[in-house]
Symmetry: C2
Subunit: 176 residues, 2 copies
DNA sequence: AGAGTAGTGGAACAAACGTTCAACTTTCTG
DNA sequence: CAGAAAGTTGAACGTTTGTTCCACTACTCT
């Protein structure tokens, strides 16, 4: 049974809409997301976005969940050494600033909408899984520290450099 | 020279509008703020809010700056012991959840608008000043840890209890 | 008393919004 | 080939939005 060509194209368009939404969030924040702005960004008519995602909420939730999934996956590759983690943070606040911002928009949205929370906690639970054998208290401290470093990096005037972050990360990771 | 009665009333109304805006942010987030929603909340005509704050941006910036000022002031009262800090975090995520959420909405807005950054960094610089004598690296680690604990508390299904936070805070504060 | 200033608020503007509808083409199935 | 399913799209709906305008009152100062 060959795959349904209609569904194949449909899935592709669905992904394109998601990617366009993420671009909008990165550029203008969650506030900039509307059926029309996403459709414009994706180069499709407005009715397309409502066809695949009936409401704006559906669209936002799908986008942020997918983005969190991707970010978690990229963190999985990072070795748990202070240098590598510091590099990850520096990149997240530098080259991947837009994506990181999107991640924290998800955090805040999740604070108000319970259905988004599992997605928002995704990278926390992932790290917990990666760093098994750690003392739970030490783990919580490190996780909190990394989150704080990230969010503070976003409101700094210049993104921090990995070398400056490394001693802080080092200190945070001492407990494990 | 007696005070100008018009200006006195004007200043009062200005403050009422600010307070109403903060209530809206706490309830519905920055996304819920419009001239009309704020005016409704404050019980004044829509034109009043535009009279005192020409654009929505002015209104948001004034509100979040003021809120940050208040939150920083309340933190100044907290003794720098693990128990007291843990209590502060638990309260921030519990009773004062709305206010804390507003604070992090400010963070995210500040990430996109440089003019908001000094206000967003307010409590960071305040803590830095309170905890003088600390090693800079240890200070950064603690600050990041507290920020992370706070934001993670906001996306938990139940606000954490001070007793559960205390060991984590304790560990974070070891370095200083 | 009269001029000037601060504040008030109803009405209205164009723009953008979420969403629905109905007509349509394309593709698969029997 | 007929009919069902999947996707496409322009037009339109009612609503909300930011902001402006203007006539008006309340107050201060000379």
């Amino acid at each position: 049974m060959p795959p349904d060509g209609r569904r194949v194209r449909g899935d592709r368009r669905r992904r394109e809409i998601l990617a366009a939404t993420l671009r909008v969030v990165e550029r203008d924040g969650v506030a900039g997301v509307s059926h029309r702005s996403v459709a414009r960004e994706a180069g499709v008519p407005t009715t397309s976005t409502t066809y695949y995602y009936a409401t704006l909420d559906d669209l936002l939730i799908a986008t942020l969940t997918w983005s969190a999934e991707e970010m978690a996956a990229s963190f999985r590759e990072v070795p748990l050494t202070p240098a590598a983690v510091a590099r990850f943070i520096a990149d997240a606040a530098g080259q991947h600033r837009g994506r990181t911002l999107a991640e924290y928009e998800l955090y805040l949205l999740a604070a108000r909408r319970p259905e988004l929370r599992p997605a928002a906690r995704r990278w926390i639970s992932l790290m917990a899984e990666v760093a098994d054998g750690w003392h739970p208290v030490a783990l919580r401290a490190v996780l909190a520290g990394l989150d704080g470093l990230l969010i503070q990096a976003l409101i700094a005037d210049f993104p921090p450099m990995a070398e400056d972050l490394e001693p802080v990360v080092s200190l945070l990771m001492l407990g494990g």
